[in-house]
């Protein structure tokens, strides 16, 4: 019975892997095209030609590009992202902690933002074109239109400086207990929520409004259902696919696009890590982070695809 679904899901996963491989090629090629020589960068301007040649040999820089790519990829497949040139630290270890922090912040933001956006979308449809709808849309659009750093600083000013409820600096480390950690991310998570809310809310509203034209909505209305129940029970289940898609895009943004917010709140996440190392021209780190970000995007989009497939009763229950 579930065989067509399994086949579709397997197909999506396989496609995702192929895509990820293609992205890894692009990332590798991209960093190769960048001007500058890694050995030179490590040793500095005053290095002797012999020292440079030795280091090149040691780093394998004299091998053809495809061989270096295979080595790099082989390492990544075994959990070895190499070492950061600037600090000599193992990249996988550094990323481990930071990815955990980023995921924690993203989860906190998502847990608030996704249900809130969807409920606001449902309410906006219920009172479509009325005052409530316009108020919700207006506020959501306004919060999205403000730049993240502006929202961040406003939040710091109000909650950290004026009322002193939450810390303005969200520094956490491995030993921070959960509740303290939660308290630390309240402000950055709020800023992120305000940023992603409108997009999901508007999409939910549009997707459901589209479904509201269907004949079965009229059927529900003629059964005497309340307006909100019609939206919740009869319209929303048929609008899941587009809503999930936009939710996943925003989740991906919460993970890979939080650089500015992390910097403002001095939160030790992936974004900050990436920005630091881009500034230092630390190519192995940039490659590793780029690949992880790509993997996040691709995975979440696969999840969205699969959710859309599973939400379709025609695929779930074939004739």
């Amino acid at each position: 019975m579930s065989s067509p679904i399994l086949r579709l899901v397997a197909q999506r996963v396989l496609l995702g892997l192929v895509l990820l491989l293609a992205v890894s090629v692009l990332i590798f090629a991209g960093t190769q095209i960048l001007p500058g020589d890694v050995a030179q960068a490590i040793l500095g301007q005053s290095a002797t030609p012999e020292a440079l040649a030795n280091l090149r040999e040691q780093l394998g820089l004299n091998d053809p590009a495809w061989l270096r790519y295979v080595h790099w990829l082989w390492g990544i497949l075994h959990g070895d992202f190499g070492t950061a040139q600037s600090s000599g630290l193992d990249i996988a270890t550094s990323i481990g902690t930071r990815l955990k922090n980023t995921l924690f912040l993203a989860t906190c933001a998502a847990v608030v933002a996704v249900p809130l956006a969807i409920v606001l979308g449902l309410i906006a449809v219920r009172y479509r074109n009325g005052f409530v709808d316009k108020l919700i849309s207006g506020l959501a659009l306004a919060s999205t239109s403000f730049p993240e750093f502006f929202i961040g600083y406003v939040l710091i000013f109000v909650f950290a400086v004026h009322w002193q409820i939450f810390p303005s600096i969200s520094t956490v480390d491995d030993s921070t207990p959960f509740l303290e950690r939660l308290q630390a991310v309240v402000l950055p998570a709020t800023a992120l929520t305000l940023v992603v809310l409108a997009h999901m809310m508007r999409m939910t509203r549009a997707a459901i409004l589209n479904v509201m034209q269907s004949a079965y909505i009229e059927t529900a209305e003629l059964k005497g259902l309340k307006a909100f129940d019609i939206i919740r029970k009869h319209a929303f289940p048929n609008a899941i696919a587009p809503v999930v898609n936009v939710v996943m895009l925003n989740l991906a943004y919460l993970i890979v696009g939080v650089v500015v917010v992390e910097v403002i709140f001095v939160y030790p996440g992936m974004g900050q890590y990436l920005v630091d190392h881009v500034a230092k021209r630390d190519v192995p780190v940039v490659q590793a982070v780029g690949l992880i970000f790509a993997a996040v995007y691709i995975t979440l989009n696969i999840v969205a695809d699969i959710a859309a497939i599973v939400a379709n009763p025609r695929l779930r229950h074939p004739k």
């Binding site: 059927t219 048929n238 229950h317």
Partner: protein, 561 residues
């Protein structure tokens, strides 16, 4: 318009109160329309219509599209579709004016006192939920039953409506059930909360005739056994004559005539009713097939999905100059696929199509322009077959330029001639499709195909989307044009009445095969094969008691098999 007599209640009826379920008085319904480029304006859809319905009785509302049938039907649930507003009159249901009931009061009666059965059950069921959940929803909502009781009632109704596997069919999703079955499930859904009134809105119009008769019989039995009253909306008088106690004829939102079923179909008092009753009778003398057909389809087999789904199996038919071959069958029988195979849109897997003694290329792309010119098509949906941003002149002029290289004044002159031929006149040359009525649009499509001076026009359900009187005009036009232009038609339809009025020869198709083929008189004369018999006996006749007779005949036939 209607005389005084027609507007008053036709039958002797007990004074108000006792048996009266629904009493609509001086109903006026308006809508605001937004014509492009003009200020919004208010139009009146229903003018001052009154009706009454007693408990357990069935009133048929009949008329062409735009007559206000559905709008009146839905007003009994205080519902206006789209931007439609009930602006005047009273709708009294069970003794109270539901226009004054307020939102809560209206919700309490919808799905409880009045239920609705829509034309397309396929669209009216929510694809995301199981049938049983949707069937019992209203009963649970209004608290007329608990879940177990409601499900038991639903299963009993499935049984009464002769649905297969009544115990388990509710576990299915709408897409897993056929159109005819869905329509019956929808009727069960309406009956499940034991309402006093059901509004049936063209419940069998979207079905094949062979399915329609079963659904019609099921609905009629259910109405009789549950003593529910019904407003039965349809454009098909023969159908409504089977189920209604009374019939109300509507036109342009006004009452034309209201009377007992027998009176309306046998002794219509109004001219318009008379036209509706006698609409199908076009006299068309069958022509003898000539010596040689100009187009021969020989043993054609065609399939979709790379050979997986065979839709045409070994089909052979001939078409003679200036004659009409009608292809009949239910949906999915391969009628339209035959047209696609002939035109090259779907290259046949086996078999050949010969034209003027030489084989036509299988694929459309391989055919020379001259072959394309000789075979033209007209479609069911005239609106979507024309570019909405082109004028009638451009639309008809296009084949003139494309096939004959006509330009400027020569082309305009020919367009004007064609417009005359389709009885529209050159005043329409600068109009856009959106400004035309359904019948006019189809006429423009006919002119466009004629412009190519083809030998054959394939007409795919060209009258199916039109009101009977308009369809009648189109058929007459096609017959006239055939005489003048010596063009042959391949006429695809599911409507046997249309076949009788236009065909010279007939091919009956069933599941991709031609089961009966020959001259019209031969095909329509017994002895019949089983399928043709079923098809012919399923066409509703405008006669009270036809349904019972037909069902009985079918039971006997199936008992005999």
């Amino acid at each position: 318009m209607a005389d005084k007599q027609a507007k008053t209640r036709p039958m002797a009826d007990g004074q108000a109160g006792s048996g009266k379920l629904l009493d609509i008085r001086n109903l006026r319904i308006e809508a605001t329309v937004y014509p492009p480029g003009e200020a919004p304006k208010t139009i009146t859809l229903v003018h001052d219509v009154s009706l009454t319905l007693e408990k357990g009785k069935v009133l048929g509302l009949i008329g062409e599209s735009g007559a206000g049938k559905s709008t009146i039907g839905l007003s009994s649930m205080a519902y206006g579709r789209g931007g439609v507003r009930i602006t005047g009159g009273e709708v009294i249901l069970n003794g109270r004016d539901i226009m004054k009931a307020g939102p809560r009061g209206v919700r309490a009666l919808r799905g409880r006192e009045v239920c609705y059965v829509a034309q397309s059950a396929a669209a009216a069921f929510n694809p995301a939920h199981k049938l049983i959940d949707q069937v019992v929803e209203a009963a649970l909502l209004h608290g007329t039953a608990n879940r177990a009781e409601a499900e038991k009632r639903a299963v009993a109704l499935f049984k009464k409506l002769s649905l297969p596997n009544p115990e388990t069919i509710g576990e299915r999703y709408p897409h897993q059930v056929s159109g005819g079955q869905l329509q019956r499930v929808m009727t069960a859904m309406a009956l499940c909360s034991e309402p006093d009134l059901i509004v049936f809105d063209e419940p069998t119009t979207a079905l094949d005739v062979t399915t329609q008769i079963d659904v019609l019989a099921a609905i009629k039995d259910a109405i009789r056994d549950t003593h529910v009253a019904a407003l039965y909306i349809t454009h098909d008088l023969a159908v409504v004559a089977q189920v209604s106690d009374e019939i109300m004829v509507l036109r342009h939102g006004r009452l034309v005539e209201w009377g007992g079923t027998q009176q309306i179909i046998k002794e219509p008092r109004q001219e318009y009713t008379n036209a509706l009753v006698s609409v199908h009778e076009i006299e068309h003398q069958e022509q003898q097939p000539g010596t040689t057909p100009f187009l021969s389809v020989k043993n054609v087999t065609a399939a979709y999905g790379g050979g997986h789904v065979k839709v045409l199996k070994n089909v052979s038919v001939d078409i003679y100059p200036a004659q009409t071959l009608a292809v009949v069958g239910e949906s999915g029988s391969g009628k339209s696929t035959l047209a696609r195979a002939i035109t090259g849109l779907l290259p046949p897997e086996q078999g050949t199509v010969t034209f003027d003694g030489r084989p036509l290329a299988n694929r459309l792309a391989d055919r020379p322009k001259e072959d394309l010119r000789q075979l033209q098509m007209i479609y069911q949906m005239a609106d979507v077959a024309m570019n909405p941003r082109q004028t009638v002149g451009t639309i008809i002029g296009r084949p003139l330029e494309f096939y004959f290289g006509m330009k400027g004044r020569e082309r305009d002159k020919r367009v004007a001639e064609l417009l005359d031929e389709i009885e529209m006149g050159k005043g329409f040359i600068d109009r856009y499709p959106a400004e035309l009525s359904g019948g006019q649009k189809q006429r423009v499509c006919i002119a466009r195909s004629l412009a190519a001076k083809p030998k054959l026009i394939i007409c795919d359900e060209v009258t199916s989307a039109l009101d009977p009187l308009v369809a009648h005009g189109i058929l007459k036009l096609l017959l006239n044009l055939q005489q003048h232009e010596k063009v042959a038609y391949l006429f695809i339809t599911h409507d046997l009445a249309t076949v009788k009025s236009i065909a010279d020869s007939i091919a009956v198709m069933y599941r991709g095969e031609v089961v009966r083929y020959g001259a019209k008189s031969k095909v329509l004369t017994p002895p019949f094969d089983a399928y043709t018999d079923l098809l012919l006996s399923s066409v509703p006749e405008m006669e009270i008691g036809w349904l019972e007779k037909a069902i009985k005949g079918r039971r006997m036939a199936s008992a005999g098999n």
